[in-house]
Amino acid sequence: MAKPTRSIYSYSFLIPGAILFMIFFLIPTLISFYFSLTDWNLIRANFVGLDNFKYLLTNPDLNIGFKNTFIFTVLTTILKVVFGLLLALLVNRGLKFQNFLRTVFFFPVILSTVAVGLMFSSLYYPTHGLINSILTWVGLGSIAPDWLGDIHLVIYSVSWVDIWKGAGFCMVIILAGLQSVSKDYYEAAAVDGGNSFDVFKHITIPMVRPALFSAFIICLIGGLRAFDIIWVTTKGGPGSASEVIGSIVYRQFADGYFGIATAAGLLLFILVSVIVFPTYLLLSRKEVEM
């Protein structure tokens, strides 16, 4: 008697949130499935079939976006998690200034993306930016590349900006995982005589797997969706050399081709689903039960 009414009562608190979610997220997503097949802009919407998708996938200036998104995502995800792990291990050792270090490493995460983009544009400046100035000073001036101007290098340069900015975030997640590892395990290893590498491989890593996987998934999704860090650093340039799916969506909307933009957004949705769901399932099967 009391139980059923209680659960209806509790569920009813979800209704406002659910309504907002449906109106602003679920329904637009479903509607966009239709609109990606039209050439809609603010005053009309004619059905054009798969033309938008054909344009996105065959135009060489645009399908470089898919390649770049792939490179960017793989690079930033792996390196953010790796650096995050290393930083987390560093600040978990009980050093004297460890709280200060944690703040310092996390700080880039909360910096404004625009500020970071401007800063790195300045650092990467080919003639008198800080990086090339240092290279010239140590005599390597002849190999100092145009970091944001070389079309083969630019996506990697931008990836590093994102890694710098995001490693602290992964550090915090992994740190939480590290701190939840019970000291008993380490004591047992000390008793059994394991060296630090064994400890790392057989105790630390397995126990922080959940945190590692969370960080991995978050970075993966973020990398696929990346837009702002690329836009403020290069605007997808030079030419189209650092375009990613996010910047393609933005650019097509800005130019007024909303149908193409919606189609690009839909491709991104499909891409994220196809990559992230299986990855998540695969990783969660390997989690160690705590």
Partner: protein, 426 residues
């Protein structure tokens, strides 16, 4: 009556309410119209005009300036959601026709000043035979802006063929100055070479614009157009440009050419608006000449129309806005503008004496007066290229695309927009 603390507060509150009612009354007597514009379309001259307008008609202009980069998108979005100002500045030509002017703007075809417009301007502010806007500024002219001091110091003459141009570049490079400044960080500036080379193409291919508009002529099939992309890359290949060309902005480029760090810059005469503000003492060192063609036969400048002033239909002050435009088109209004701002091109209204102006504009105007000028392509066709043309130019300039591939990318962009607008022939 005992003046307790509460009573004082109550009286004070009532007084404030009454006073604020009075100010409402005062506000109703000065008419204020809202103007929406992108920041770099509004100059000192416009402010001077706004002052003259207030003095003469008691109308105050409240100008909202949008940032240069996103401004156009914001304007389009606001129009679509009916959050409109009383007066709107926007592009003219194909860019205006693309946003359905019949739906958003008041038809101004019957206004008295319409016949004062120079004929080419009349074309660019109209769509489907109806006139929707009034030109915002003079018609800028484009070619090669050069530093006269460097030229005279090195004893160089204005080149009339591409080979002479390259020879000049070699001599300038040997003297330790950057021959041509590229500012590809702002990719719109990469289009200039193709845009200023249009006179040659019009002379060699009459009706080119009409044929392009109806899909009967492809840009990739115009050898001079492909050649312009070649020239863009050639200057980089021969080392005649600044090493940091991908990081230099429009502002940096102006600094370089004003200070003599670069000798030449491919640009339109609208540059004098910012040059005169930032480098007033150096602007007289600069002049202009037409882009030399390969064979030297047809060298001329390109003429742009300025942006235009429109009145959104949903504005609540259409009659007042029309009065503002009438004053703008009058001799008095134009004089107020040009008193403070030297003209950056050929005046858009007939019979306007814009007075003296800068060397760059005067040099380009000589070509115009001589008939060696062509209207920029964007004002002769219905197709709008938005951001695809600058990107193709950057790709050609950095060597990512061959000249032919870049021209093909332009064709693809033309096709995309023409199909989107459902233009006949595509």
């Amino acid at each position: 009556m005992k003046l307790s603390r509460n009573r004082i507060i109550f009286l004070g509150f009532a007084l404030v309410m009454v006073l604020s009612l009075c100010t409402i009354g005062i506000g109703a007597q000065t008419k204020t119209l809202k103007v929406l514009t992108v920041s770099n379309w509004w100059f000192k001259g416009h402010d001077a005009f706004a002052d003259a307008l207030y003095k003469k008609l008691g109308i105050k202009l409240e100008v909202e300036k949008l940032p240069d980069e996103q401004g156009v998108q914001v304007i389009r979005t606001r129009l679509a959601v009916n959050e409109v100002p009383d007066i709107l500045l926007y592009y003219s030509g194909a860019n205006m026709r693309q946003i359905s002017p019949e739906q958003f703007f008041v038809d101004l075809s019957k206004e008295p000043w319409v016949n004062n417009l120079v004929p080419v301007v009349k074309n660019v502010v109209s769509a489907n035979g109806k006139i929707y806007g009034s030109p915002n500024n003079s018609m800028p002219l484009g070619g090669v802006v050069y530093n006269k001091k460097i030229y005279s110091k090195l004893g160089l003459k204005v080149p009339t063929t591409w080979k002479e141009f390259l020879d000049n570049c070699e001599k300038i490079k040997a003297a330790g100055v950057v021959p041509v400044c590229y500012s590809f960080k702002e990719n719109w500036t990469a289009q200039l070479l193709n845009l200023i080379g249009w006179y040659e193409i019009e002379k060699k291919h009459p009706d080119a614009a009409k044929l392009i508009n109806t899909n009967k002529l492809k840009m990739a099939d115009i050898p001079e157009y492909v050649g312009d992309f070649r020239k863009l890359s050639e200057l980089r290949e021969k080392g005649y440009i600044n090493k940091d060309y991908l990081a230099v902005t429009f502002d940096n480029a102006q600094k370089m050419i004003a200070n003599g760090d670069a000798a030449m810059y491919l640009m339109g005469s609208w540059i004098v608006d910012t040059l005169s503000a930032n480098y007033p003492d150096k602007i007289n060192d600069l002049g202009g000449f037409a882009l030399p063609s390969d064979d030297g036969k047809y060298n001329g400048v390109t003429v742009w129309a300025s942006q235009a002033i429109y009145i959104p239909k949903e504005s609540k002050n259409v009659a007042l806005a029309k009065k503002v435009l009438e004053f703008w088109a009058s001799k008095e209004g134009q004089a107020a503008f040009f008193k403070v701002q030297k003209t950056n091109g050929a005046p858009s209204f007939k019979g306007v004496n814009a007075g003296d102006t800068y060397g760059i504009v005067k040099d380009f105007k000589k070509y115009l007066d001589n008939g060696q000028a062509a209207m920029a392509l964007e004002f002769q066709i219905d197709i709008s290229l938005s951001n695809d043309l600058p990107r193709a130019c950057v790709d050609a300039g950095i060597g990512a695309k061959s000249p032919k591939e870049a021209a093909q990318a332009v064709d693809a962009a033309l096709e995309k927009n023409a199909k989107d607008q459902k233009l006949p022939g595509w």
